[in-house]
Structure formats: C-alpha cells, structure tokens
C-alpha cells in the first residue's frame, strides 16, 4: 500500500468527544466514511485491506479442502480479540470448541524480536531491483509500544496463548453439531451481539464472531442451503447495527456453485485461501521464495460500507509465508527473473486476468 496515499486537503475532521474515546479503546481505529476498523490479527492483511476489518461487516473466507490455511486467519483473528479483551463468540463443527482456545497463538513481544526486518538475513550485498518494494517497508520505523495498546499484534504461531487471556472472559463457544437447525445458533449470536450495540453515545468494546467451516458435513444443516443463507443474511444485518465483526469460513467445494455465489455476494469482505502444491517445479520457476510459501491468499472483495467507491488493490493474490515458522506474513507475488536461456516468457501468476466474457468493444 505504499503507493496509495490519500490526498490530504486543508480541511481537518472535527472529531466529537465521543469519537475521541475511540482512540483510547485498544483495537479500534477510525476508518473512512464514518466507519471504524478492527484488526484482523495479521499485520499484512490489515495493510492490504486499508486498515483492518470494518466494524459492522461480514468477512467470509473460502476454504481450500486441501489445506487448513483458513485456520491461520481464524486463529490470528481470535487471538487479537482476546489480547484486546474483546468479547468473542466461536463456533465450529468440532467436538470440543473450547479446547481450540488452547491452540491460539500468543503475541510476540516487540522488545524481544525484531520481527519486521526480514531482509537483514537475506542478501545484504546484492540488491535486486525488481524486489525493491520490500525494502521500502523497512523505512517504517518500529517504536516500542506496550503490547496491549498496539492495534495489531504479531502472533507467534508456535507459542500457545496464555491462559489468563481466555479464562474468565466473555467467550462463547458453540458446537455447530448441536444446532439441528440454525435458529438456536442464530439466537445465541443475536444475544451475543446485543452486548455490543452501536450507538453514538458510548462506545462499547467491539465484539468478534468467528465461525469456522459453516456447512461442513458434520453439521445437520449442511444440506439445507436456504437455511444457511437465511442465517448468514440475518447475521449480516444484525452485525451491521452492532459494533462487531464476524468472520465465517466455508468450504465452497462442498456447495453448489449457485449457493457459493450467493454466500460470496453476502460477504462484505471476501477472501479465499489456496494450497500450494509441494515440489511444483513450474511454480518454483515462476515465483521467488516458492520454498517458503505455505499457501496463497486472494482478496476478492473489500468492504464498502457507506461508500460506493470500490477499493482497487495493487495486487489481489498474496503468498502466505511463515516467517521463521512463527509468524504469518503475506507478500506480493514476485515473478522470478526470466531465465535468459529459455526462450519463452512465463505469464506472471500474480496477474489478475479475469475470465469474464469479452465486451462488444473490447480491444
């Protein structure tokens, strides 16, 4: 997002007293058009989305059946909420959703690790021009801040979250298997969301809802597509009028294309994760850093609340890497330098060629 600087005019926004308190609530920050942002728990994703997840929006993640990368997104999202003491509702088709809390990552202390200087270990001498964008990021200096007051923490995926973050907290864990139809689940979500209503007078702590694998085969309602649509639609509308963000992951490969498209249209922010095959020689030739990649993340839609202007990203597909096997970073795909000896040129897999029908006057 280095190139997308908004134009600064001579007018400055006149913040009311109520909104000044927002800056004192950790984990919230102002967004454009009267919206507020919540951190996703992944620093790079926040940057890509322009600040984070918009409060009152519905985020949907399309899973890949071959790899559990959506869990990385859910884990970071939940951990961030717990670190900031935000109420959380977690639902999953697993037998023991509460146990999942023990696998959440712990925030890294910025004092111990310099997590941002990734390139220090890399080639210091020779800097290759086509990767220069990475080096621009280094100029954002890191200043020491208390971990609690940081908007987005860096999470160490190898270290589990300390108990005190999730014991005695307002955390609701729901087994999706238990809800034969979705009405009971929906009622629990509604009562959770009534804790974080939206009004202008006092800003309450924002809430987070994380629903993992909605429509997975273990759930009884998995074949009732219309019920699921009604549920997601009601949840979306309830969330809009409350101070919360919901992240729902679902497996599109198990659904009919029509149903999957309806869910995609319902989402405010839509993201998909894809697995990267191991030892793919073609991809290895095409991309740099292929060996470190665990998956690909594509951003299909970014929430447009209170505005009609679409967010055009510089790139829509990012590689997911585990830096030092600890923290999740998202990087733009970089095409490897074309080998002079081989004659043909490779299409960059980071390009965004859509496969829509050609218009009548297409050049």
């Amino acid at each position: 997002m280095a190139g997308n600087k908004p134009r600064v005019g001579s007018f400055s926004r006149n913040f009311t007293a109520a909104s000044n308190t927002i800056s004192q609530i950790p984990g919230l920050k102002h967004g454009p058009n009267g919206t507020m942002f919540l951190s996703s728990g992944i620093l790079d994703l926040d940057k890509i989305l322009g600040g984070g997840f918009t409060l009152g929006s519905l985020v949907m993640v399309m899973e890949d059946p071959e790899a559990p990368h959506h869990m990385l997104l859910i884990r970071n999202f939940m951990s961030q909420g717990l670190v900031h003491n935000q109420p959380l509702l977690y639902a999953s088709p697993a037998k023991d959703p509460r146990g999942f809390l023990g696998t959440l990552p712990s925030p890294m202390f910025s004092k111990d690790e310099k997590s941002r200087d990734r390139d220090a270990e890399q080639e210091k001498g020779l800097r290759i021009a086509w990767q220069y964008k990475k080096y621009f990021e280094e100029q954002n200096s890191e200043f020491q801040r208390d971990e609690k007051s940081e908007y987005c923490n860096d999470f160490d995926l190898r270290k589990p979250l300390e108990r005190h973050f999730y014991s005695g907290q307002q955390i609701d864990c729901i087994r999706l298997e238990d809800s034969a139809d979705l009405t009971t689940f929906h009622d629990r979500c509604s009562s959770f969301l009534s804790q974080t209503p939206r009004n202008d007078r006092n800003i309450t702590c924002p809430g987070r809802i994380a629903i993992q694998s909605l429509g997975a085969p273990q759930c009884d309602f998995a074949d009732k597509e219309c019920d699921m649509l009604s549920f997601v639609r009601s949840l979306k509308n309830t969330i809009r009028s409350s101070n919360a963000v919901a992240v729902i992951t679902f497996p599109p490969s198990l659904f009919s294309p029509s149903f999957s498209k309806r869910l995609q249209h319902l989402a405010d922010t839509l993201v998909s994760v894809k697995a990267i095959p191991d030892e793919d020689k073609e991809l290895a030739k095409l991309l740099t850093g292929y060996q470190d990649m665990v998956g690909l993340l594509s951003v299909h839609k970014v929430a447009r609340i209170n505005t009609q202007v679409p967010t055009i990203l510089e790139a829509t597909t990012f590689s997911m890497k585990l830096q030092k096997r600890r923290s999740l970073i998202l990087e733009c795909l970089n095409q490897a330098p074309i080998d002079g000896s081989s004659g043909s040129s490779y299409a960059s897999s980071g390009s965004c060629t859509g496969s829509s029908k050609t218009g009548a006057l297409d050049f």
């Binding site: 009405t183 509308n237 249209h265 505005t307 202007v309 679409p310 965004c352 859509g354 006057l361 297409d362």
Partner: protein
Amino acid sequence: MDVQVPNLLDDALGGGGRVVLIEDCVETSGAFVLHHFLKRSLSPNSSDAVIFLSFSQPFSHYDRILRKMGCNLVVRRDNKRLLFFDLLMLNSLGREEEKTSEDLLLSLYEKVHKAVEICSSPARNITIIIDDVSLLEVAVNCLSNMVLDFLHYCYSLTAEFGCSLITLNHEDIYSSLDKSSLILQMEYHADVVIKAEPLSTGLATDVHGQLTVIDKGLGGGVCNSGKICNFQFRIKDNQIEYFYPGSRT
C-alpha cells in the same frame, strides 16, 4: 469525456413506465447504477417520487453515499419524495414455509401498492427500486416462483400507474442453473437490461468496469429496434464517470 454517454443511461428511463434490470457479479457491483437512478429521480428540478425497497443495506448507507453525490435523502424522505422500506430483517421464520412466505410477499405488495397510490395523487413519475432481488429470494426461503409472482404484480403496477421499476440482481448466481431461472425471466420482462462486468483484462484504478446497456426499444414509439451500448465507468465519491473505451484523457 464523452458528454453523450451519461444520457444513454438516462434515456433508458426516458418515458416512464419502463422496467429496468441491473445485473452484476461478485467482481463488479452494480449498486452504483442504483445510486445514479436514485439521484436522478430525486433531483431538485422535478417532483418525482421514489419507492425504495431495500433488502441489502440500511438507510444510513445510502444516505451517506447520496449526500456525497449532492442529494440529501433525509430531506427527501421528510418531503415524502422518497419512501424507504427497510426490509433487511424481513424473513419468514416458521414451520409452514409456503404459507408464511406467501403472506409476506402479499403484505409487501400491498405496502408497495399503497405507496404508489399515495405518491400518485399529485401526478408525477414514480420509480420503484428493489435492492436486491436475490436477497428477496432468501427472505422467502428461495421459493423463486413466489418471487416471480411478486415481480409480475410489480410489473402490472408499471402498466396501471405508469411508474418505472428498477431491480438489481446478481447474474452469476444463476449462471450455473438450468434454463428457466429467475434471472432469465427477469431479463425477458425488462425493457432495459444493464450489465455491470469487470474488464476482461482485470483490475485497474482508472477504469472500474464496463457497462452494457441493452435497450429493447419496446416503448412502441419511434424506436422499435433494440440498442446495445457498451462503455466503461469509473466510480468516484461524488459522481460516476462514463466513457467509451480509450476516450478518457
């Protein structure tokens, strides 16, 4: 910038009593066309009225967007030029699905009919806008036949009262379904179909997509032949720019 082009979109609504269908997809949202029509109908020069059935966004969303475009929806609502129905929470929860969905649609139609009657007492152009039909389907448990019936009743309103009907639906939901899908029926009944699609070359900051306007020319007047226009657009906060490909400076 081509000055003719915006008139293409406006000419589509020209005579009143037209049915317009807006189609979009996940990659490119067609909601901005609704905002354009909303602003046009509520312009200060005329006394036209708009009946807005919203299934997807609350009033505050449209209010903020239209305010940046120079149209104050709150004032229009107070002046009874805009009748906004917030139908976000409309759904038929209940065991006897068919009965309650039917009642739901019937009561909704009655509300719309009454609203049209109220608005037509000082004679003026009335526009009914539905955003969007796929969510209306979800609200009635995906019984698309009932949605079709409801739309037929709305079409009859256009004939009876001379009002226009503008609906938005998502074309990619139905593209994998069998032939007699809801979108095909809606396309058949519409006088004008406006399709918002992404560029086949992908994303661009200056061009947000392309619009194809198919005017069937069924107005019965001078122009009986259909017209197809294709142009590109760029969406900004305060306006939408339309231009032919390559003609932007």
